[in-house]
Every structure is written in structure tokens, then in C-alpha cells.
Symmetry: C2
Subunit: 309 residues, 2 copies
């Protein structure tokens, strides 16, 4: 039996709406901090269109301002990292004595940002393997996957992690609590760094990038750089690069023409999550003496593309 | 006094029309093999709009088929290298017992292609520093520069090279005969490989690429790779990378927002000269044991962009 928690969702894009909706459906007390969808959700609730079956939540607690929510047991952060300048101010009103903060944002640096303000012992992170997008206001589409791997920012397999794992599993979200969050983050980067960037830069989906033998070779070499960078970060157990990369490439081939989030951001002229997915991993690798020339070049090309043309 | 030569121009794009027009104005017997501009030039001659002063040639010998021209003293090749499949057939009717063939095409591999068919002793190559484009049919625009550095495919400073130098100089085209054509080609690549590719990939001009510190750093590193690749090719004298790269970057900053030919090719959805400017230099460097990871990555990204999206 899972205890009912009071939860605040910061960053109610597709990820926040989907996970928040699943948690509310399972009986959790979910409060959404909303911008675009505020009015639609306050008036008409939330429609979740999922590959696992659609559902509708007629009554949803949506707020424009975090002060209206106040302290919660659990903050779940789904904010795009390019909006991290606002993260602390958005989260602060939700934090009380016992509040845990779980960031499901992309890349590196998010737990550190929260820990500096709210204390590392209160921070958890997770990587989400979710394919979702927003439709019209008040509607979210879950297109596939959904698994979360989460763990303590301070490391170790805590009771709290296991409770959150059970909470998500009860809500129908596959979840694994891990002892080494840093390793989970770098493992995700092994996929995100090549495919988010190459697809965004070339405006091509994963199938198109892998169709060219040189494109496949380049993705492979970038993945090797990320494995090397990650394995220099004192992980509890190194990533087995050869096996892991081959599995990632195999799974990507199975996915068909997938459009990573960064590609969609670029197609829709939004900023890209370059700090979290490129700049900070590059800095951490460099600090450990690892040079990632192709990753650095991809970052530079993506950053150049952010300039007004 | 320069002997009058019978000249055939193969590949009458902006480069072929400009140099051919300059040579005809100086009294040379120029025959243009034409496609797009055939009718306009046969009817109305050639208009040259130049930063050095406009001129008009009312009578221009334009042909649709090289057989109508027949053997000449000098073939000048200005064909885009992505059309090199047609090069031998276009040149063959122009070649007699004494014909010299000068290719002013971009990149590497063009002299070799001609030498395999017509004999290396008949081949010269040159790098052209020319900023020009075509306007309406029968008009060519010379926007700046124009210097040619030419030399023997077989190496050495021949009498023939000096005669061609004098021919161009007499026609108002700055020209330098060089003993080491291979070095001249690699020196040009030190600029072409970074700037043609980065500008085409990003659809940004040279100023935009150099505006970002990371973009400037990347251009610099790619240039270093090309210098290293070139200096492994048994040049008569190595390229002084440090001095040469700094001068090239300085000159590029002076050029203002320049759009390299490959960027224009991409903006106009033409094929790119990837074999001559990337694939063959990469092969030659690899054969000498030199790895050019950023150049290889740039080539891959450009090639991926050639696929139908």
C-alpha cells in the first residue's frame, strides 16, 4: 500500500503532464504548476492519450504560481533545462522541512543546481525514457516507453528511492531505483549526445542518420567518447562500452524514424538543451582529463546554429 | 609578346566565363563549351561585370559540343567536380598532339583523373582565388580577387608554366607559376576544408561562423588537421602551419561576411564538391597515416545532408 503524497509538478510540459496524470490517476495528490495549459486544465481537466489506453481526469489542480501550492512531500521537476535560470524560484515555494525533490530533466547539472539551494540530501534525480508530446491545451500524448531510473544525488540505494519506485510502479510507470545515479545519467548521455545532436543539426530522424555508413560510424565514435568520459567519473561500476553501444545502436535501429526531443526543439525554433546535454558533460570529462573532440564539435555546431541567422 | 593560343574552356560557369572573357579580351582565341548560356552568348556575346571595370565581348565563340571545337593548344577546365563523371568525354575532342590541359577545379583528384587518360606530362593544375558568379544568361559578375597559382602535375617549374603565367598576367589576371602544385592545392584546402564545409553545413557566412569563439576554435583546429595532412604528402617544403593559419584567419576576418561556393551550392540545392574537397584529401592523409577526425566528421555531416530528407 502506497502512502498518498502531496506532489508538486514543476515544468508541466509533456513529461510533467504525463507522469503527473498517471500519479493522480493512481490516487496521489498532484498539483501542477502550469503556464500554457493553465486555463484549459482548470476548466476542463486533463486528457491523456496513451498507447496503453486513454484516460481523462476531469478535476486537476492547476496553478499559475508555486506560492498557491505551498510545501509538498515531493517535487517532480520536468522543466526544460534551457529554462533553468528560473528553476530555483519555481521550486522554492514548494519546499518544506520534509520535501524531497526529484528532477527528471535531461543531462547533467540539474541535481547540483538544486542541491546548492536546497541541500544535496533532499535531491534525487532520474532519467526518463519517455516518448510523449503535447497536443492542444489540456491534452498530452504518450507515444511509447515511459520507464524511469531514479536515485539519490548523494548516491546509494535509499529507502526513499524504493518508495518512489513503488509509487511510480503502482501508477503504471515502470521504474527502477538505482544506487549510482551518475552512471544512469551518463548511460542516458551515451544515447542523447549523438542522437539528439546529430538529428537536431541535420534535421533528420534516427533512421536517416543511421542510413549512411559514415553517419553510423560517427554515432558510434561519439558514443565511445561519451563512454570514456563517463567512465572517468568514478562510477561505482564502469559502463561496458562495447556491449552497451551495440545494444543502443540495435535498439535505435528498432525504433524506426525516431525524432529526438532536441530535433523537435530545433524544428520548432525553440532553444536547445545544450548546457545540460553538452557543455556540462564536456566540462566534467575535461576535468577528468578526457578529450571528446567529436562531441565538442557537435556542441559547437549546434551552438552556432542557435545564433540568429 | 604572348603568342596567340587556341584555347578551349570546359565548364563555362562563372570561373570559366570570367577567365575566358579576360583571355579573349587580351587577344587569345577562346572557344567556350557552353550549356546554360549557349544561346544568349551566340546571339548577344558576353557581358563581364567586374570590380575592375565592366567590358563587353560582342562576338564570342560558343559551342554546345566539344567536337565542333576540335583540338586546341590549351584546355582550361572549370567544371564543378561533382560533374567529373563527364570530364574525360568533354575534354577528349579538344586534345591533339600538343595540347596542354590546365584544370582550375577545386580540391584534389582532378589532375590524376585527366592524367590517367591524357598522360601526366600534358596536365597542369591551378588554384583560383576568385569571387564570381553568374547573373542572367550571357552575363558574368566578377566580385573580387582572381589570382591563379598554377603548376605542373609532374612537379617543377616548367617553361610552359611560365608561359601560362605570362598569358594570364597579360590578360589582367594575377598569376604565379609554382614548382610545387601539390603544396598549392593543400594550402588552398587549409581554407576550403573548414570554411566551405562549415558555412555550407550551418548555412552561415564566414563572419557568422567566426563570431562564436567555439566556431573560431573549431575552424582553427580543422585547419591544423589539414596542415598536418598536407605536410605528410612529401611537399617540397612543409606548410608553416602556425603562421599560415593565423594569416588565413586574419584574411577571412577582413573579407567580411563571405559566402563560400559550397555554401551557395547548398543554398541553391546543388550537389556539393565533397569528393574533391573532403573524400580524396581524407584518403591521401589516411594513406600517409594521418587521422583528421574533425574533417572526417564535417565530411560525414555534409554527406548526410546530401540525402533526400
Amino acid at each position: 500500500m502506497i502512502k498518498k503524497m502531496r506532489i508538486g509538478i514543476v515544468g508541466s510540459g509533456a513529461l510533467g503532464l504525463y507522469y503527473g496524470g498517471m500519479l493522480q490517476r493512481s490516487g496521489q495528490g498532484v498539483n501542477f504548476l502550469l503556464r500554457r495549459d493553465l486555463h484549459a486544465i482548470q476548466q476542463n481537466g486533463l486528457h491523456v492519450h496513451s498507447v496503453n489506453g486513454d484516460f481523462y481526469l476531469p478535476q486537476v489542480a492547476g496553478f499559475a504560481n508555486a506560492n498557491e501550492i505551498g510545501p509538498v512531500d515531493l517535487v517532480i521537476v520536468g522543466l526544460k533545462t534551457f529554462a533553468n535560470d528560473h528553476l530555483i524560484n519555481l521550486v522554492r515555494p514548494l519546499v518544506g522541512e520534509q520535501t524531497a525533490i526529484l528532477t527528471l530533466q535531461n543531462g547533467l547539472g540539474n541535481e547540483e543546481l538544486l542541491a546548492a539551494e536546497f541541500g544535496g540530501e533532499n535531491i534525487l534525480g532520474g532519467v526518463a525514457f519517455l516518448c510523449s508530446n503535447r497536443g492542444e491545451s489540456g491534452h498530452v500524448h504518450h507515444l511509447g516507453e515511459g520507464k524511469i531510473r531514479l536515485g539519490e544525488f548523494s548516491g546509494g540505494l535509499s529507502e526513499r528511492s524504493k518508495i518512489l519506485q513503488a509509487m511510480f510502479e503502482t501508477a503504471g510507470v515502470p521504474c527502477e531505483a538505482v544506487a549510482d545515479l551518475r552512471r544512469a545519467r551518463w548511460e542516458k548521455l551515451v544515447w542523447n549526445i549523438p542522437f539528439n545532436g546529430l538529428c537536431a543539426l541535420l534535421r533528420q530522424d534516427t533512421d536517416q542518420v543511421l542510413a549512411l555508413p559514415e553517419g553510423r560510424e560517427l554515432a558510434h565514435r561519439i558514443m565511445q567518447e561519451v563512454v570514456t568520459g563517463g567512465n572517468a567519473q568514478q562510477l561505482q561500476q564502469p559502463i561496458d562500452g562495447r556491449e552497451f553501444i551495440e545494444r543502443m545502436i540495435y535498439l535505435t535501429d528498432q525504433m524506426g524514424g525516431y525524432k529526438p526531443s532536441m530535433m523537435i526543439d530545433r524544428l520548432e525554433n525553440r532553444p536547445l538543451e545544450l548546457e545540460a546535454i553538452y557543455a556540462i558533460p564536456l566540462q566534467q570529462a575535461a576535468a577528468a582529463g578526457i578529450n571528446m573532440p567529436r562531441t565538442q564539435m557537435l556542441y559547437t555546431l549546434l551552438k552556432a546554429g542557435e545564433s540568429p541567422i
